[in-house]
Symmetry: C2
Subunit: 413 residues, 2 copies
């Protein structure tokens, strides 16, 4: 059970000032699904005119809410570009995954309750649940606070919502950007939760993004999917993939400003997603160091990703860094096991600007004490050249410490 | 550096009585490559008449000795069935991997030295090195003890050889079987080392098997490859794959008994390999529990392996077991991320004989206290049914504890 863990040493200095996003209001409440004495449910209600896009875990045991969201977004697309009101409901403490038909029934009950309290059509209510797998969700407890949520909706409620969806997170995660389009301002704001079971596969943890710009779902979906590949799909804490990963983005259109095809908007959306993704790594369970693994010279980008993720997921690389040991041989091992094409005699490795290995062996200029000094840093850059092509990828991870074992050897019982 | 680690609680009661294998003699010596005050080199010399087969790591950064062994076995096959004398030389403390051309030179120098001291042709000297990656092998130190090794060869030297090749191992690993063929007895004996960086890919760690039966290399190679798939390729400690994995099997033929196609021999060889493979898991770095993951009902055996290995490699499953937490939701997660085909509503999970989940949800008969009591055991059986076909596979692993972090956060420096 999530005791009060100390805040990650990699946490940002503070929670950002999240601006209001026109067309969306938030509420949080304490339903007591599992946690005591804290909010554990959040509701976001989006005005008519809102388009929704999203990406989800590719797990074969994905949760009932994920299956429901996928079906609803698919139906939205079939009907054309839905602009009805929408709602997001999220609870922490129980993931409603691997709960059979009872799981589907819980989702349906919650969607009915949200619809009754907010007048949002059930087909536009998107739920998510995060927490323990395999236990029935006590959805009646959430229904019991639905009126409280619906009457407490507030344009400035996003920070409370960010706190309500935390599980083993040690800090809430938020990010925002403003973009000028034709001398007018649109806002993008988002929140995320995630700390362990982080190795998103085509999707992500729980992430909610909001903008008051207008975009069709048709324009929004590929933008989010592209950005996702280099943000949430580029992070890993422990190589374990959640049953509940969900990223939803809602464009309320409340400003009336059309951001379709607007490059500054696309960049700002990327920035918010990247900011949130790296905050998740900074809150990696037990993390003491942030690690960026940049792979260049791969046969293609997919091979670069394969090699970068093999390094980022290697327990031996991650424990070496936890021990501030410049044990670059373990990086060689991880490259080797990844299966990515590499020219053994042209492989190079750098720690930041320090050339550690080149031409397939320790660099003549490399001194152990330089590597050892570099490893004392809070943020570590590993740069690998494979020497065969132009493919590149950067993965983001954290080290593997005693803290990870402590958190996960007694999370549930 | 390998301090004196406490012996794994999963270690066998003692080292087995290894019988002599006709046609092979062993020696061990202290070359001081890295470790102080212990043997760190072993030599095995095999009489003329010996055939050799082997499997090796598929790492793209495999070591200089692995590349040399692969080339020599390939040449053996090209020349037909070589029956010349042969030798195996192994050192611990330095893996001679990622050492560029210097690595190849070290291998060549050692093969020359072995040949000069033993009269075995260089083309039949198979070396291996295990330890730190990326540091030049001080092969002169090994050459300096070559005469000691060559003059100390002993038919009963296999236990000393098993100790000389240890790195982070907490106990030496040996196994033997005797087989009756046409009222005559042949012997199979073998040794292995390995404790971390264990996730063999098509091959294994360091394993040396000896028999005094006669088999052609043509008969021996497929037998070893088949057995390997269900023994060394079915184990994992930490999902990290070595640059140096090497399994060599030598049939001296000294008894004159032909074991080709003999089923009892094949079974005995399997038993020795299985025994050694599970000893490696029992010595997994920091291990406190042995875990067998049996997957049934998969679309095919490859899918069963994928699911079993995903469970066996999941940090969250392994930390839960370390904490004696019957957190079977994490098993669901690992099945889901594996990508193996599964019918979510037919998945079943057992702990030994305890039915935990069936038909895609917690079993009605399951009681938390039964699962909790089961988790106190030293050996844990996880049995997963995927509900789609007839594929099966069993993987062998250990839990993930603070001990693993302690060992690997300061192995090298």
């Amino acid at each position: 059970m999530a005791k009060a863990l100390p805040v990650s040493p990699l946490a940002p200095a503070g929670f950002p000032d999240l601006p209001a996003v026109a067309g969306v209001r938030f509420a949080a409440a304490a339903a007591g699904v599992k946690y005591e004495g804290r909010d554990d449910v959040m509701l976001a209600v989006l005005d008519p005119g809102t388009t929704v896009a999203g990406v989800f875990t590719q797990s074969k045991t994905r949760s009932a809410p994920v299956l429901d969201c996928e079906a609803k977004l698919g139906a939205d697309r079939l009907r054309g570009d839905s602009r009805e009101a929408a709602a997001f409901l999220v609870n922490a403490g129980n993931s409603n995954a691997f709960t059979g038909r009872a799981g589907d029934e819980s989702v349906a009950a919650l969607c009915r309750a949200v619809s009754a309290a907010t007048n949002v059509p059930e087909a536009r209510v998107f739920t998510a649940s995060t927490g323990v797998i395999g236990e029935r969700l006590p959805h009646d407890r959430i229904e019991a606070v639905m009126e409280t949520l619906a009457t407490g909706l507030d344009a400035y409620g996003l920070p409370s919502a960010a706190r309500a969806i935390m599980t083993t997170d040690t800090f809430p995660k938020g990010a925002a950007r403003k973009v000028e389009i034709d001398d007018q301002t649109v806002t993008i704001a988002g929140i995320a939760k995630g700390s362990g079971m982080i190795a998103p596969d085509m999707a992500t943890l729980l992430v909610y993004l909001f903008t008051d710009a207008r975009l069709s779902a048709e324009a929004l979906q590929p933008l989010v999917a592209d950005h996702n590949a280099k943000t949430f799909n580029a992070i890993t804490v422990d190589s374990d993939t959640s049953t509940s990963d969900t990223l939803l983005v809602a464009a309320t259109g409340a400003t009336g400003i059309d951001a379709t095809g607007h490059e500054a908007f696309a960049t700002a959306l990327f920035d918010v997603m990247f900011d949130l993704a790296t905050q998740v790594v900074r809150d990696g369970e037990g993390a003491s160091k942030l690690i960026r693994v940049r792979v260049t010279g791969a046969a293609d980008n997919a091979d670069a990703r394969r090699a970068a993720m093999a390094v980022a997921n290697s327990p031996l690389v991650k424990t070496a860094i936890a021990g501030e040991d410049a044990n670059w041989g373990r990086i060689v091992m991880a490259i080797g096991k990844s299966g990515a094409a590499a020219d053994r005699d042209r492989i190079s490795i750098r720690f930041g600007e320090i050339v550690v290995a080149e031409n397939g062996w320790a660099a003549q200029s490399y001194r152990e004490e330089d590597g050892a000094a570099y490893m004392k840093r809070r943020e570590i850059d590993i740069v690998v050249g494979l020497g065969v092509g132009d493919g590149t990828f950067t993965a983001y991870t954290c080290d593997l410490t005693h803290g990870y074992i402590s958190i996960n050897a007694d999370y549930r019982s």
